[in-house]
């Protein structure tokens, strides 16, 4: 079943206006949509990330769902404990990790991998703003090649980890990428994930106006261009079978890159190089789509 905007508007969300998020935040946009898709029978486990601050200070919170804040490296393990406790008392609840890229691809990867290997019945969400944004823009294992951050002042020299594929290699029942630029694709993936038993991993590209240095009104546009330039392909791997869920609108990578100040030192030749890498990945995905199973 495909969700329409009218369905979505009727669903209750768990985000309350007036949070501490920056204007144009991709992460709050993602959370608004995800909380609507998941519904009220959901608890969130949040490690250190932008959302630790976005909630705003005690004794108030911008989140109207049950939410437990936990130490940086611990989210997937804590969520495992929550899920097993509910299981022990026969309660069926969506247990969701809502983590940034640092808490997912770097410091939290061990607990994440452990929970995935154990096939814990969780939805692990990485809202990926491609750097440590909460501490003021330092590189992470998810920061793209050539991107400026305060700890890569001349541009990052390494490729980011391919986290969705790392999770797919755990042979979990569901892995998906998403972007706030394609909200219906995003929401449909959560609709699907909540009805699958076992470990679900959804990696949402979450543009960050201050961290990526683009005009604050362009959050959705940047999220869309990331997909349409093949930079952030949207796919899902269900039961090992890969499916590309959005066909990019074949835009040159330059349009995505030049919208962002974090790539300001990049040359046109380097963009060509990057485009080659991006297209190789795309062709690889197309190839995988033809296989019976990815893993």
């Amino acid at each position: 079943m495909t969700i329409t905007i009218h369905d979505l508007r009727k669903l209750p969300g768990s985000y309350m206006p007036g949070s501490a998020a920056c204007p144009g935040c991709g992460a709050t946009l993602a959370f608004r949509l995800v909380s609507r898709a998941l519904g009220p029978n959901t608890v969130y486990i949040v490690p250190a990330c932008c959302f630790s601050v976005i909630q705003a200070p005690y004794p108030k919170s911008a989140i109207s769902a049950p939410l437990y804040n936990i130490a940086f490296a611990a989210a997937a393990a804590t969520a495992s404990g929550v899920h097993r406790a509910y299981k022990a008392v026969n309660k069926d609840v969506n247990v969701v990790v809502w983590a940034g890229d640092g808490g997912t691809v770097d410091i939290g990867i061990q607990a994440l991998s452990g929970a995935a290997e154990r096939k814990e019945d969780l939805i692990y969400v990485c809202y990926d703003n491609e750097a440590y944004m909460n501490t003021g823009i330092q590189r992470s294992g998810a920061t793209p090649l050539k991107a400026w951050t305060k700890t890569t002042p001349t541009g990052k020299r390494e490729m980011p980890k391919d986290m969705p594929m790392i999770l797919a290699a755990h042979r979990v029942p569901y892995v998906a990428t998403a972007s706030v630029g394609y909200p219906f694709d995003l929401v449909n993936k959560f609709e699907k994930a909540k009805n699958i038993r076992g470990f679900k991993y959804i990696h949402i590209l979450s543009p960050c106006p201050p961290g990526w240095d683009f005009p604050v009104e362009k959050t959705a546009e940047v999220g869309k261009l990331a997909v349409d330039t093949y930079f952030w392909p949207l796919y899902e791997i269900e039961g090992g079978k890969l499916k590309i869920t959005v066909k990019p609108r074949k835009r040159p990578l330059k349009e995505f890159i030049r919208l962002q100040g974090r790539f300001r030192t990049i040359t046109d030749e380097e963009i060509d190089e990057l485009e080659k890498i991006v297209m190789e990945k795309w062709q690889f995905l197309e190839h995988l789509e033809k296989s019976e199973r990815v893993f």
């Binding site: 768990s14 009220p40 029978n41 959901t42 608890v43 486990i45 630790s52 601050v53 909630q55 705003a56 200070p57 005690y58 004794p59 919170s61 989140i63 109207s64 769902a65 049950p66 939410l67 437990y68 804040n69 936990i70 130490a71 490296a73 611990a74 989210a75 997937a76 393990a77 804590t78 969520a79 495992s80 404990g81 929550v82 899920h83 097993r84 406790a85 509910y86 299981k87 022990a88 008392v89 309660k91 609840v93 061990q110 607990a111 991998s113 452990g114 290997e117 154990r118």
Partner: protein, 409 residues
């Protein structure tokens, strides 16, 4: 007193696992480490064979073991885990998180030295380094005490005035792998003593949309820590109450926050913890036969620290001999430091001689304790306590360096 229990000859680790089963814990996340390993093996076999109705989470590290315990306890069920040494140290961050979240998680810690170099034998460096995490710490000296204390401490920890996690600390190998007769209480008696955990302070519940642990600014934070400290202090009385209730139902008494042995009207007191206290009991008997008037104060509860009980008990002594199995480098033994703190503001306080010994499993027998007591009495009577603490049972060549250090003072 209720129904009789059943006698079995078992290890301290087996006793800890049986205690978890009797406590009807619902979730056990655990990661193996020597010498804790058999605790989690026993629990895995209890659960897999259907003797125990609980979820077992085979986590990939101790950090995750404690993180999962936090999640389970936050979701409102009784939770147990066990660790030792490096494992406890890896948990450190989340130990603070568990206590700050006011979750009465239970944990058996099998005391083991920390590396490097690798050493799997007993000392208390691991738990002492975590003494300020907000966890209750009880040190025990027999396998029966392991079992009974875990049952008692769930009742203490889940008391609405406490709501803090607890660790029951048992000495590696000396208890964990040593067989002793243990009376296993009947499940129905334990069920009456320890009713199901039903948190009312907070829990992570899909019907209750609260946010736990978001930013607290300087205007709010300090009182939350004060509240933990108050709960820790109040736990002292609750430990005594629960100990009494346990005695009435099961007929066994190991002491409350402290255990006192031949202390009344003794001239000197030995203060120590864990299995060294069992050796000290023998030493006290032998010393008294020699005409040296000494008693034993075994500290069971290091956190909360029973300052008042200790100062009231020790005020009339001619001297106090404190034996520590860990070292706060350049400061002394952690128990020695606490005992001085208990006594310092008293007008006629007794002198304290503190020994650091038994590290990495170095065997400390009752004869060693007799030697320390005699050395201490010599120093006390000749007013030669020049240093806040003394190393004991170093090899002779290193002992010489220690003596020359003393001469230089």
């Amino acid at each position: 007193m209720g129904k009789e229990g059943k006698w079995e000859i078992i290890t301290g680790n087996h006793a800890a696992a049986i205690a978890a089963k009797l406590s009807r814990v619902k979730v056990v996340p655990a990661y193996p480490i020597t010498p804790q390993t058999t605790i989690v093996e026993y629990i895995a076999s209890f659960i897999d064979s259907g003797q125990m109705d609980a979820e077992y989470i085979r986590v990939e590290s101790e950090h995750s073991a404690m993180a999962a315990a936090i999640g389970a306890s936050a979701a409102g069920v009784r939770t147990f885990t066990a660790t030792a040494s490096q494992g406890l140290l890896l948990m450190s961050e989340v130990l603070h998180w568990a206590a700050g979240s006011r979750l009465p998680i239970g944990m058996a810690v099998v005391n083991r030295a920390v590396g490097p170099p690798w050493n799997i034998h007993v000392d208390h460096q691991d738990t002492m380094s975590q003494r300020d995490t907000g966890w209750i710490q009880i040190y025990v000296s027999s396998n029966q005490e392991v079992l009974d204390t875990i049952l008692m401490m769930y009742k203490v920890a889940e008391n609405p005035d406490v709501l803090l996690p607890f660790m029951v600390c048992l000495d590696g190998f000396v208890l964990s792998h040593t067989y002793m007769p243990v009376n296993i209480p009947p499940q129905e008696e334990v069920d009456v003593f320890l009713p199901p955990y039903n948190p009312t302070h907070w829990k992570l519940d899909p019907t209750s949309p609260i946010t736990f642990g978001n930013l607290a600014l300087p205007d709010e934070y300090q009182e939350m820590r004060w509240s933990m400290d108050l709960a820790m202090r109040r736990a002292l009385d609750i430990i005594e109450d629960v100990t009494e209730e346990f005695f009435e139902r099961f007929g066994r008494y190991h002491g409350g926050a402290v255990w006192k042995y031949k202390l009344q009207e003794s001239d000197y007191a030995v203060v120590t913890m864990g299995t060294m206290a069992s050796e000290a009991e023998v030493a006290v008997d032998e010393l008294r036969e020699e005409g040296i008037d000494v008693g034993l104060l075994k500290i069971r509860s290091f956190r909360p620290f029973p300052h008042r009980d200790i100062s009231e008990t020790l005020i009339d002594k001619r001297g106090v001999i404190v034996i520590d199995r860990s070292i706060a480098f350049s400061s002394g033994g952690p128990i020695g430091t606490e005992i001085r703190s208990s006594l310092y503001n008293l007008a006629d306080r007794p002198p304290v001689v503190n020994y650091v010994t038994g590290l990495g499993g170095r065997d400390i027998t009752h004869q060693d304790i007799i030697a320390m007591v005699k050395d201490a009495i010599g120093r006390i009577t000749s007013r030669r306590i020049r240093r806040p603490y003394y190393w004991f049972k170093l090899k002779p060549e290193f002992e010489r360096i220690e003596i020359s250090e003393e001469v230089r003072l």
